[in-house]
């Protein structure tokens, strides 16, 4: 139920720049933007003093776990975590049980999404059951609005199949997104292959297992002309390959996850599986390269790879525990705290650029202007807070940042004209 809201005293930051302004929201859209606006009768005032008023954040890479793993997360709990993190839209990854490889499963997740706090866009699988063997009915799923297709969790190993998938997708105007990992070279590696894996006695996967598939898919992009989006790039080599591909004018886009610009494989020395993730935490030079790639636009977006797992799964031995970390409630603060970038640049990486890649530009990513759908977040860039897993809205607790102090916090989130987060508390 859309509300009438007035956001008072903030500073708008969007694709058009920065300016102080109040914002009035009614009937699900932004109705007025300007200085000292008069609030309509019955409007709820949201204090934005000292805050940035921005288009809502858009996550290209969220595991909502429903259907199939509701003990870890549901569409409802994941969307609530997203709203608290400043997101007004998430792209739900298709590695559910069953996988999102048919129109029926797409419709099921979309239906759950309609009752959630934020917009839930559904990504479909490239191959049936994500097994890398046969193409999914992409046209049927595209007809329901699916824009991104990926077998995330696994890369499409067969270059011939990937070529055909790209060609087929290009006829539908949809985009394929790749989890880059050459299975033969990764060979079951449980962390980054390097000095730490060698010392810790854990089988590693080399950076080259990711880079081989990045290089292959850049070649396939050149061959087919179809756009490719690279998920969660984690190595210096991958960043360099994408930089060169963009310089050559190829239609590639890429994202990086917050843990790949904030943590290294040294964290694994604790043997705590909360630090296990795929792609794995890499070395310090990779972290620097990811930061540089985000700064120079080689990497288009920050995507969380929010991957909830219940506590018992993260208490298995390291080599048996599933990979994945929570991300939705910490991504913005990590980007503001750890990347030495101005707030406009951080928001480009978290909002309008991912909105375009997700095909959500009509509703998400701003600008904050009269007539636009009211998907907004209000950020206090100076607020300091300490990450406490027990206070997270996600159904799971597997954040690697417990106890870390961060700067920058979401004060309010307005999704489709509804104040879903007010003063840092979820309203639904």
């Amino acid at each position: 139920m859309a509300e009438t809201l007035v956001l008072r005293g903030g500073r708008i930051v969007d694709v058009n720049g920065t300016r102080p302004a109040d914002v009035i929201v009614a009937g699900g859209i932004v109705t007025a933007v300007g200085a000292d606006l008069e609030a309509p009768a019955g409007a709820t005032a949201l204090d934005a003093t000292g805050c940035v008023v921005a288009p809502g954040l858009v996550d290209l890479h969220t595991h909502l776990r429903e259907p199939g793993r509701e003990e870890a997360e549901t569409v409802e709990t994941g969307a609530r975590a997203a709203a608290l993190g400043g997101y007004t839209a998430v792209v739900a990854m298709p590695n559910t049980e069953p996988a999102v490889d048919s129109a029926a499963v797409v419709a099921q997740v979309q239906d759950l999404g309609r009752r959630a706090a934020v917009e839930v866009a559904v990504a479909g699988a490239i191959t049936v059951g994500r097994r890398g063997e046969r193409l999914t009915p992409m046209a049927e799923m595209a007809a329901l609005g699916v824009h991104l297709f990926t077998d995330d969790g696994a890369g499409v190993q067969d270059a011939g199949l990937m070529r055909r998938a790209l060609e087929y997708a290009s006829g539908l105007g949809v985009v394929l997104a790749q989890h880059c990992e050459d299975n033969a070279l990764a060979a079951g590696g449980q962390m980054h292959e390097g000095a730490w894996a060698s010392r810790l006695g854990i089988p590693g996967q080399p950076a080259e297992a990711e880079e081989l598939m990045v290089a292959r898919d850049i070649a396939l992009c050149r061959l087919t002309g179809a756009p490719v989006h690279f998920l969660h790039l984690s190595t210096a080599g991958s960043v360099a390959l994408v930089r060169a591909a963009k310089a050559a004018g190829l239609p590639v886009t890429a994202e990086a996850a917050p843990h790949h610009f904030t943590l290294t494989d040294e964290s694994v020395a604790s043997y705590d599986p909360v630090f296990k993730v795929n792609p794995p935490l890499r070395g310090a030079t990779d972290v620097e390269a990811v930061r540089a790639g985000l700064a120079d636009g080689t990497l288009d977006a920050i995507a969380t790879d929010h991957a909830p797992h219940p506590p018992e799964a993260k208490e298995l031995p390291f080599d048996q525990a599933p990979p994945g970390m929570l991300g939705l409630e910490t991504a913005l603060a990590l980007a503001l705290s750890e990347l030495a970038l101005p707030v406009e640049a951080v928001l480009a990486l978290l909002s309008w650029r991912p909105a375009r890649i997700a095909g959500l530009g009509a509703t998400q990513g701003g600008p904050v202007a009269a007539g636009r759908p009211a998907n907004l977040c209000v950020i206090d860039p100076e607020a300091r807070w300490v990450v406490d897993p027990a206070r997270m809205a996600s159904r799971s607790r597997n954040t690697p940042y417990a106890g870390r102090e961060l700067t920058g916090r979401v004060r309010h989130t307005v999704a489709a004209g509804v104040a879903v987060v007010v003063d840092g508390e979820a309203r639904r």
Partner: protein, 310 residues
């Protein structure tokens, strides 16, 4: 000594020295007609072996009994792990029985670290984790080198000795602990293996590497052979057992290059005819290693649980 023994790195040079000196006293105890002392009477030691290991488990349990501790034995095959009980629940259940020390063996690297985080009061001893560490094996290896050289009047300590560790370093917890322990005591360590059986990175390892066992053997004071597991062939790490033996096996012919005082060691169990020829195994000090293992583990348990500092 720390509250737990998880890694050789927990001990440092002083800690290793302390264990070895105390082990001397327990070797004397073990030579008595009644090899038992009341040092840990009233204490309970549980061995949590999530992976089969007859020799290490028996060695720890014998050590605990000779110190008059009570012993609980847990082995994965007969446990409620088969009923789906989690590792953490198993550890907390065993500890709730009033256990003072948990000796943990697991096929996954790092499990003793996880157990140490969950344990409320018990000392955790790493009985071997995955490819990672086997600290009591390294301690008994240091003890054995010291004792054998002393018995042959070759001097005290490991300082300046050249130790070659031969074989599957990559998958070896014994090698990782031995490299730390031998290095801490001042030995020069050379790893001899085909590149596929070395860890992908040796950054931070105080070692040299050789791919020429024949050239190396004559220079060694100790040749330490590792067990080669047959699954390494299916992982394309080696072409064949035959080729491995031809290049890195301590064959009878190759053993002739060894000096008269060079020690031949192996953590067991031995693949006779693969990493070491049968006759050469017989001239080794493997059974001494096993005997010393009990005394060294007595020293470790005593230092962790004993009332009086050794």
């Amino acid at each position: 000594m720390t509250a737990h023994l998880l890694s050789i790195a927990d001990l440092g040079v002083d800690g290793i020295g302390k264990v070895l000196r105390l082990a001397d006293r327990f070797v004397e105890v073990n030579a008595r007609p009644i090899p038992k002392v009341p040092a840990l009477r009233g204490k309970t030691v549980a061995s949590l072996f999530f992976e089969d290991s007859t020799r290490t488990r028996l060695s720890f349990e014998t050590a605990a009994r000779r110190l008059s501790a009570d012993v609980l034995t847990f082995s994965a095959g007969s446990s409620s792990l088969n009923k789906g009980e989690s590792l953490r629940d198993t550890v907390e259940t065993v500890e709730a029985m009033g256990v003072d020390a948990l000796v943990v063996r697991h096929r996954s690297s790092g499990v003793p670290w996880q157990v140490a985080r969950w344990a409320r009061r018990a000392a955790v001893v790493n009985g071997g984790d995955g490819w990672h560490e086997h600290p009591t094996q390294a301690l008994l290896d240091c003890y054995t080198i010291r004792a054998e050289r002393r018995a042959r009047n070759l001097g005290e300590g490991l300082g300046g000795l050249h130790v070659g560790i031969v074989g599957d370093i990559r998958h070896s917890r014994v090698a990782r602990s031995d490299v730390l322990a031998f290095g801490a005591l001042g030995a020069r360590v050379t790893l001899a293996a085909p590149p596929t059986l070395l860890p992908p990175s040796l950054e931070g390892w105080d070692v040299e590497v050789s791919h020429d066992l024949d050239g190396l053997l004559g220079k060694l004071d100790v040749v330490y052979l590792l067990r080669l597991q047959s699954e390494r062939m299916t992982e394309a790490l080696l072409p064949s057992l035959r080729e491995y033996t031809a290049t890195y096996g301590l064959t009878a012919q190759r053993a002739e290059r060894l000096g008269p005082d060079t020690l031949v060691m192996h953590p067991g169990p031995v693949n006779r005819g693969v990493e070491v020829a049968s006759d050469v195994a017989d001239r080794s000090v493997i059974t001494h290693q096993v005997a010393n293992g009990v005394a060294v583990r007595m020293a470790v348990l005593f230092l962790l649980l004993g009332m009086v500092d050794g």
